[in-house]
């Protein structure tokens, strides 16, 4: 079965403590990213953890260093709505449903970028402590407008249309800042990318045959 078909709402006290700790780790991960606590963020991940985001894919140390650089240019804030957790023994999956907010200068104006996405985490309990072993984004939709009621920002429609619909504005902003966003991230506009990730995670969690 898929991970999301695991029974929900039937937790034991031990499950509740585990899920509380997992949720705290996942929320604290974004808190550290937002407020520049990089050593604390790194401590939440296993040494062999991998992270995929629109701007990089690789090991955790690479992600931490990149976050430090990116936050200095266009600081992001992650606003988490809720976190859903599925646990199977010493492994767990968590999805943090959130909006990434970035306010930054762009094309002579100041813009507010808001990207709705869910961050898909794998976690493992090692030596009694939950650690993040991977994190991948699943994009849903985004918008970008001037921060002012009389602002001038208006992105080129043709350029926007050439980008992935589930994170077109995020890609647009990154390209204007000289970046090369990954066009192959999982997203609502390409359900097969989500399906692939979900199957891989279900196998990893041990609830689906390979």
């Amino acid at each position: 079965m898929m991970f999301y078909e695991c029974p929900m709402g039937t937790n034991t006290p031990e499950d509740i403590v585990d899920k509380f700790n997992i949720r705290e780790i996942v929320e604290y991960d974004r808190y550290c990213r937002d407020y520049n606590h990089y050593d604390e963020m790194r401590s939440l991940y296993s040494d062999d953890a991998s992270v995929g985001v629109s701007w990089t894919k690789g090991g955790i140390n690479n992600y931490v260093e990149g976050s430090r650089v990116n936050n200095a240019k266009a600081p992001a804030k992650h606003k988490i709505f809720d976190v859903i957790i599925w646990k199977h023994g010493n492994r767990a999956l968590a999805e943090s449903i959130q909006s990434i907010q970035i306010r930054c200068p762009l094309e002579g104006d100041v813009v507010d970028l808001a990207t709705h996405m869910r961050k898909h985490y794998r976690l493992e309990k090692r030596e009694g402590q939950w650690k993040i072993v991977s994190a991948e984004p699943i994009y849903e939709k985004d918008t970008m407008f001037s921060a002012y009621a009389d602002g001038t920002f208006c992105p080129d429609r043709e350029e926007l249309a050439s980008l992935r619909p589930s994170y077109a504005n995020l890609m647009y902003r990154r390209m204007k800042y000289g970046g090369h966003p990954d066009a192959a991230c999982a997203g609502e506009d390409k359900p097969e990318t989500v399906e692939k990730l979900y199957k891989e995670s279900s196998v990893w969690l041990g609830v689906m045959e390979e």
């Binding site: 403590v17 700790n21 929320e27 808190y31 604390e40 939440l44 606003k79 306010r103 002012y148 009621a149």
Partner: protein
């Protein structure tokens, strides 16, 4: 610093404490939004202190002033992080607060991103709020109508603190004098000073 306390290693007792703290904070904002002022005050220690952008004081005087406040506010809470050390705790509630109110000939929607920084203490077996202060991040204000006429004066906006410029503008419009010395993303030294003070208070 308080935020360097280990996270994700809670015992069942810690989980119960943190669940109670989170509930208290969410309920405190709920009471403010829906005008349940006696219940709001009951979330605080008798010597609790509240700092808001337009008023600062002890919990009794704050509650009395807030009862008749002219700008309605609704808080939309994202997540709440909690650090505990014995009978003391620090919590940060990441939220967006919204106000819809008349402004000149139009009606505006103000939206302010803020994290509320709480200190709490367990008194006679119950967690109580000792203090709360906002840390501002960014805000926006626009007409509630797609064809609304409201445009903030750019010069006036530029004269305010950038992390809560629209909040300040709205406060002035309603005859209040907003505090321009609050911690915010645009004044990191004020956040650091608050964090150091709180970390000492927490016993770190």
């Amino acid at each position: 610093m308080f935020f360097q306390c280990s996270m994700g290693q809670n015992t069942l007792k810690d989980v119960i404490d943190k669940m109670n703290i989170r509930e208290l904070i969410e309920f405190e904002r709920y009471c403010m939004d829906y005008g349940m002022w006696d219940m709001f005050q009951s979330c605080y220690s008798d010597d609790g202190q509240v700092t808001d952008c337009w008023i600062k004081g002890d919990i009794s005087s704050y509650t009395n002033a807030a009862r008749t406040a002219v700008i309605p506010v609704k808080h939309k809470i994202f997540d709440t992080l909690i650090w505990k050390n014995g009978r003391k705790a620090v919590a940060e509630c990441l939220a967006m607060y919204e106000s819809r109110c008349p402004f000149d000939e139009d009606v505006v929607d103000l939206s302010a991103h803020v994290r509320f920084h709480y200190r709490l203490e367990k008194q006679n077996g119950n967690w109580k709020i000792l203090s709360v202060i906002p840390i501002y991040e960014k805000d926006t204000m626009g007409s509630m109508y797609a064809d609304g006429s409201f445009r903030a004066d750019r010069q006036e906006l530029a004269a305010q603190r950038s992390s809560y410029a629209n909040v300040m503008l709205l406060q002035r419009k309603y005859g209040r004098t907003p505090d321009d010395t609050l911690p915010g993303e645009d004044r990191p030294e004020l956040v650091t000073a608050l964090y150091e003070e709180t970390s000492r208070w927490l016993g770190m």
